[in-house]
Point group: D2
Chain length 302, copies 4
């Protein structure tokens, strides 16, 4: 994630000039403002702006005039109650704006989350940099045998090396030709056409703005073990930022979403029978083989 | 719009304690924070939080690292260009959170704008106040003869007085019975049931959070002369807040949306013929009678 | 739910004239088309149009050219897998359009689900009917002592009668005055103003169009035991329609959403300890008192 | 756009089996169902399902029980009125589902329209075909000198040939290596990784479902002369489908959106002065140079 000296200077300038505000301020988030957190080989996530804090969630839930804290019912308790009972609108009252640099194939997964605002760097208007995601050898896996859309074991060092070679050579050649095509004193091809030659591991960047409820939804799916590694590392980095921004809400999210488990009607029934001492088996549980396997993972009687 | 002393104290406390932030600060908006702007007889609008400023729009449009201002192309020029050419996503990068107190029948129109976040005061959980919108005599009009969903002339003073009498009497009686029904040491009816007795001029309140693009869309429709007076006054109050918050964007909105006119294909054709000196009439213009009337309003050859 | 003879004739006419189509047809839904299902005292739900069926969900999940059924993996299995693993987009490929007549206070809860299309009967343009929701005595409850936004026990017959009397008298008087205010040969008040005198139990109606994923979300919240009775009966009626429309998807919804239970991280831990034979108590479980109570409801060791 | 014999057979089977329905049927759209309309060198658009017709727009606008046609006010007049006055919700009551095959760089522009439902072919799960968009020589232009995100003149035949050569060679090599990497009896790399080597001119496909209001918004921006050629051809093909589906609504869209012009407050003022015979010039018009140029294009006094 190499920032140019100019970029670093712009960031430093922004961090050097605090100004007074009457709005809610989240000290944990102020520390992160503008600072890029490196992700993958050339990517980053950085907070550009935010609105609200834990208290703002409570304030909206109570539609109150002031800060909203009441002595009887503390803020954390209220936040946990709201999260547990799927009252999502108070969490929508916090908003965050991120600047993200990421490979195009990650961006294509990310954009499927539609309830967010996006401004992407325009390759019709501007020239993309010569930056491509090349996975580290420890993340080059074979196609999974059990999960049709996941990764299995690591490739052998030889196969891994061949993959790296192909990715690097093709990226380089594609970018060389991209440059040749758009050269203003050369071919001068329209940028909106030339960009089509670039592979999906080229880096793009965007401003992405989302409310906390929808961000939690994104994080639940993308910080999950089943998410593709290359998007999961972004989600994990964002988790850290959110934990510093709204610590009560983040802890409730960990307990009631990230670390939670949903049991189907059949699983609830099976669990109850097991707790009563019955012998429940794949045969008498009323679940499919796949569901039973998932259930065994949950009860973990080891 | 009577605030209780406790509410006023809460607001004063919030305004008394500025804190440093590294985020973009809009001085024009800081002045308004938390202060209720009175609307109608008991309503108000007040800014509770905001994100971004004019520079943030440009920064997002350029996906830049710093503040985004370039010497060549000034910020206002860019903002006007974006507005004129319907590039809406950079305006989505600003966000505002309002606390609004409004009659239920206004709230029912307002909520039709779905691209916003809302937390409304819950009449299942809490007790509504004895506050009803009673229109001033100068806003009591007859049904329009020309526009089926608008107002015509003022009512006569006698009819106006009868209307006021009915509205006041029915509101009072409805609230008396609401109170009797929910009285904890009386009937004790569930609040979620008792609320059904209250008429649509009772006041409710909510936190409403929206991005600038969608807010402009709301304002274009609701600050329009055809909007119902009772929602228009809220829109007009919000217009003033936005003008102080993002002055460049607001001016562009005035020029390219509020004060702009859309000509149909037929109107463009008619205008061109008129500019060439042709005589264009209702008969030879290719428009319906209603469209021709609207077109005459636009060209205004008086 | 009294339909006028004209309305009934219009519905009969629509049901009398089938036409051939090449689109996916759901026989279970064709039976319901246009027929109002009564809800509450004057309300109804009726299907006006629909798009897709169970096969359409699979077809979209596979992005296939034809019907999408493959021999190996049957459609129901795929649908259950999609539901269990929160793959929501294939369910968005089915759409339904309902015509609903409902009290305004129910409409106000309903509209909070924003991901839907709505056209409501306009009381600015038209005149509302003299129809009010008056609850049956067996649904007139006191405010709950344990749940601040729910109902407790039934009222005494005397209190119940007083409530009914107030609701009826106030509705009648409000409508009488509404009529007097808008009378064209009388006061002639603008309809957009007169409507404010009507209480929240007056009936309105709308066309509501929603995709199956968002409909399931609505049903999960509103067919739930904690939802207010007056909206729950609408949700339950819609559940029956959906069960006939997309039987595989509906069954998956029952098993993985309606009948499912989400366990927090703490609850999962407690369950595992219990299954290993440990004694887990309110004191050593790491949950709040309220959470523990909820957990006891789930494990149901009775 | 080569369909395999199996695909063609699946489509033929669907078209061969009409079934009776009580829903609204649009004969103009039935003709198009399932049939792929070729776009670009390997792409297509085909209608997979639709909901509603012109009458359904009126029915929703009137919230009526039957078909909604009233003798006095004909359907087309109502539709034109709704379109002219930005009443968008009745148009949301029609829905269409398309199956589209398109290059990835087009898909990336397209997906920016968020108010739609999408299921894309998964390159984590499946293998992409060896199909790449290679522009025809008559669409290979230089970067525009006047519009920073558009195309200028055609390239010389020599430069054009060089571009084609590079695009073809790089696509071929990238796909060869993609195949080598995922070969099940070879390297066996996970598909979610291998896909990153494919350039943005590779074809993908998706099911895209959208309501008519949002579709019109998409078409207004993407069938516009300023849209990139490669997405415009898709928009133009969809325009033809919509014209056959809802002819009244489409004609209103042409007159009030596609062929319409929005004049800024300054332009309205200038037009009025011109119609009164005043000499209005770039100097005395109160517009920027760029706006004046745009205005001259509108008034077209030639």
């Amino acid at each position: 994630m190499p920032l140019s000296p100019e970029q670093q200077a712009e960031i430093d300038a922004l961090r050097a000039t605090p100004a007074p505000t009457l709005r809610a301020v989240a000290p944990g988030m102020e520390r992160h403002l503008y600072v890029p957190q490196p992700v993958l080989d050339h990517g980053f996530v950085r907070v550009v702006d935010y609105m609200g804090d834990d208290a703002a969630i409570c304030q909206a839930a109570r539609v109150s005039y002031g800060k909203g804290t009441k002595s009887v019912q503390n803020d954390e308790g209220l936040i946990r109650y709201l999260m547990r009972h799927w009252h999502s609108t108070p969490f929508e009252m916090c908003e965050v704006k991120l600047h993200v640099k990421l490979p195009v194939f990650v961006a294509r997964q990310w954009i499927r989350h539609r309830t967010a605002n996006v401004n992407e760097y325009s390759a019709r208007y501007s020239i993309l940099d010569r930056e491509f995601y090349i996975p580290a050898p420890e993340h080059i896996n074979s196609q999974s045998k059990v999960n049709n859309q996941g990764r299995g074991e690591l490739l052998s060092p030889e196969d891994s090396a061949r993959v790296l070679e192909m990715l690097k050579a093709d990226s380089t050649r594609a970018y060389d030709n991209y440059e040749a095509m758009i050269a203003e004193d050369g071919i001068g091809l329209a940028r909106e056409l030339a960009r089509m030659n670039l592979p999906a591991n080229v880096y793009t960047q965007w401003y992405w703005k989302v409310d906390l409820h929808n961000l939690f939804h994104f994080l639940r799916l993308r910080a999950d073990a089943h998410a593709q590694y290359e998007i999961r590392v972004y989600a994990e980095e964002i988790c850290k930022l959110v934990a510093d921004w709204v610590p009560f809400a983040y802890r409730a999210f960990e307990d009631y979403r990230l670390g939670a488990v949903t049991l189907s009607a059949q699983m609830v029934e099976a669990m109850r029978r097991m707790l009563k001492g019955e012998e429940v088996t794949a045969e008498n549980c009323g679940m499919s083989a796949r569901e039973w396997r998932e259930f065994m993972g949950v009860v973990d009687k080891s």
